[in-house]
């Protein structure tokens, strides 16, 4: 009896040792980001120290009080949120279709949808640019430098991910449920909203969260396809790197600020991540 007990205690110590060290490793870079954001430029280039006693608030106030950065933040929030919601809706519809109907070539379609995430982005900038400035044109209105353009474009890497995530989940919902509803005379819409969506709720939540994070963090497309109006916060970060000195302090401050919404998001809905990310493992 006492042997199991001591083994238990060892297990506890092991668990906590593991997690405390993991936490330290995880937090170190983020802590350093914070330290940099609290330092003046002169302090930064002194001897590196881990501890920070003063706080240089200007690094935060300056970017935050610039109208441009408020715009970047708003754009990022709108683009990421709209994109995540759009992706979730489209993914529900698409995976429901792929899971319930025997459509010709649906396996190939599924595979093709996923391959959209594999493309190396740089070479696709030029065609996308032409698409945004030339192909979709109503008088002077184009997709270039608009939030709607980014929202649609981010589907390119988020939809494959979302569809993959939700496919297993859809397959896991017993088909008997919707068949019973159909027998009772329900429409496809009713089945979707009343049965599928509630059952797939956690999965949808995960899709929304991770899509939101990917969209929030995207850089290259936003840098190339927006100018002034629709520029996002990640693109704004690059503005701090200039020939006459990178403003590391302000850059770190903005990075830190852009981390906060994501962090709050995460803290709120983390349980659903765990509930939702099952990838069809339940199906077994």
């Amino acid at each position: 009896m006492s042997r199991t007990k001591s083994r238990n205690i060892l297990g506890w110590i092991g668990t906590y040792a593991l997690w405390i060290s993991m936490t330290l490793i995880t937090l170190l870079p983020i802590y350093w980001l914070f330290v940099v954001s609290a330092r003046t430029r002169v302090e930064l280039f002194g001897r590196p120290t881990l501890l920070q006693t003063s706080f240089y608030i200007d690094n935060y106030l300056k970017p935050l009080s610039t109208p441009a950065f408020q715009r970047y933040l708003t754009n990022s929030l709108i683009v990421a949120t709209s994109n995540a919601l759009l992706v979730a809706v489209l993914a529900v519809l698409a995976t429901y279709a792929l899971s319930r109907w025997k459509l010709g070539g649906s396996d190939s379609i599924f595979f093709w949808l996923i391959t959209n995430r594999m493309a190396p982005a740089a070479a696709f900038i030029l065609p996308l640019y032409l698409l945004f400035t030339r192909a979709f044109r109503l008088g002077d209105v184009t997709l270039y430098d608009t939030r709607i353009g980014l929202i649609l474009l981010y589907c390119l890497f988020n939809l494959p991910f979302a569809i993959w995530l939700m496919k297993g989940m859809m397959d896991g919902i017993p088909i008997e449920l919707d068949e019973a509803a159909f027998v009772d005379g329900a429409s496809t819409w009713t089945v979707l909203t009343r049965i599928i969506v509630p059952l797939a709720g956690p999965g949808i939540a995960v899709t929304v969260i991770l899509s939101w994070v990917f969209a929030w963090n995207e850089y290259l497309f936003a840098a190339s396809l927006t100018s002034v109006q629709a520029r996002t916060i990640t693109t704004g970060l690059a503005e701090f790197v200039t020939v006459t000195g990178t403003n590391w302090g302000e850059m770190a401050a903005v990075s830190f600020i852009s981390l906060l919404p994501a962090l709050i998001f995460l803290a709120f809905v983390q349980r659903y991540i765990v509930m939702g990310l099952t990838f069809g493992a339940v199906k077994e």
Binding site: V42, S65, A223, V241, T242, V243, G245, V269, M275
Partner: protein, 499 residues
Amino acid sequence: MFRWNRVLGFVIVLSMLLTACAAPAAPAAPAAPAAEEAAAEEAAPAEAESWWAEAGAPYAGVTIRGISESTPPSRYSAEVLGQMFTEATGINVEFEVTSWDEMYNKPIRDMEANTGIYDFVYIEQDHIYSYLSRDFLTDISALLAEHPELQSPDFDFGKFTSFIDNFKQDGGIYGVPMEAFIKPYLYRADLFADPDIQAAFQEQYGYELAPATNHDQYRDIAEFFTAYGEENDLELWGTTVQGHTGHPSATYELVETILPTFGVYNWGINLDTWKACVENGGEMNSDKAKEGFAFWLDMLQYAPPEATSSTWDEVAATFAAGRAAQGWVYGENAAWIATDADRSVVIGNVGVANPPVAEGVIADAESGAGYIGYYDGGAFGIPYSSKNKEAALLWVQFIGQESVQADWAAAGARIVMESTFDDPLIVEIDQKVSGYYTLMREAGPLYRGAAPLPFHNTLRGNIDTFIWQALAGEIDAATALDGACVAAEETMLQLGYGE
């Protein structure tokens, strides 16, 4: 089960957070317009004001879009001059300031595709030849001749320094200079003037400590201060090296700052035959070039450890942090290093001089056959694809007025007109920056911009790797340059030059 009210609650909190973020913005705003008003009053007498209003009337309400790098001079033109221009003419200016990479990528994409997004673009001196070779730019002088009613009485190409020559071709002028700097030699005046240090240096090397005029002296000084820093447990080294092993700035320092002082000009490329290797009439792998590169690599041992991670801005930061006794630093940094206490610990202690050179280089520079360093800068030009050329024409003249130059120079350390040097404001600053502006005015003609290569970026991109590998110690200077010149020739051939 899944609770949607949780998500709803989250959205509400998030939007509240956003509002909170935006709130502190309001009080800070009024400061900027006040400064602008003051500047505007000083800059534009009533008569001139009415001219701008009249000339701008047909285009009032039009929005012109432009792009530039996010540097202090560009930010000043975007925030201050843009406002003034809008007030004077009724033409709106939408100004995109962005990173160095994008400042090049985006306009070229716009002009290549003939989209017409930008009505004016920042043209860095070294990129103009690429744009010109593809007829991407509007001839501003011709456009002015076409529209005499748009010719501002306050604008005259003749008032600019010789820097404007970089933007001329076949009698046409394609850019209005907005910033220009030289890349001088900076040294720590306080250390160089310290009697103890002077005595120790004299004893060790047998001559007086003074700003280096040739490479041997430069090496001695670098060696001396590195040892001095070590002995006294100071964070001090003998020199800066702009040697980031994965950034183009390293190649630029080599071909535009170091090699010219060894008598290798135009990157060692023969501009008549488009060849780079010695056996084909180029100079990129000549003995002089290899000597110069080897000298620069040798300086790494006297440079602080961040040298191989330093681009242009980190070099300036290193010097401002007092970590280097001397170095080659871009001139746009000289002013803030010498005056800005928020960013620099060496204010008042910065000396400025011409870079050290090999024998014969000064003579070359005076005769026009060569140059002693890099004359950097850029202009605003109007893309051929612009849809608001006339409005943009007014804008480039507006920023090219004599009256706006001095304040702009004070904000961004850039000078593009002769008369600006005499402005009381600049004369005053000049004393604080140890005569950087005087040096720029007097020695300016000895410096020059990048070679007229229409494929500048592509070529540099193809030789970068050799320079970086040498800086990382993977190959030696000779091997690197032998490889670089072959790569350069291959690139030029591929692009259709030098067949």
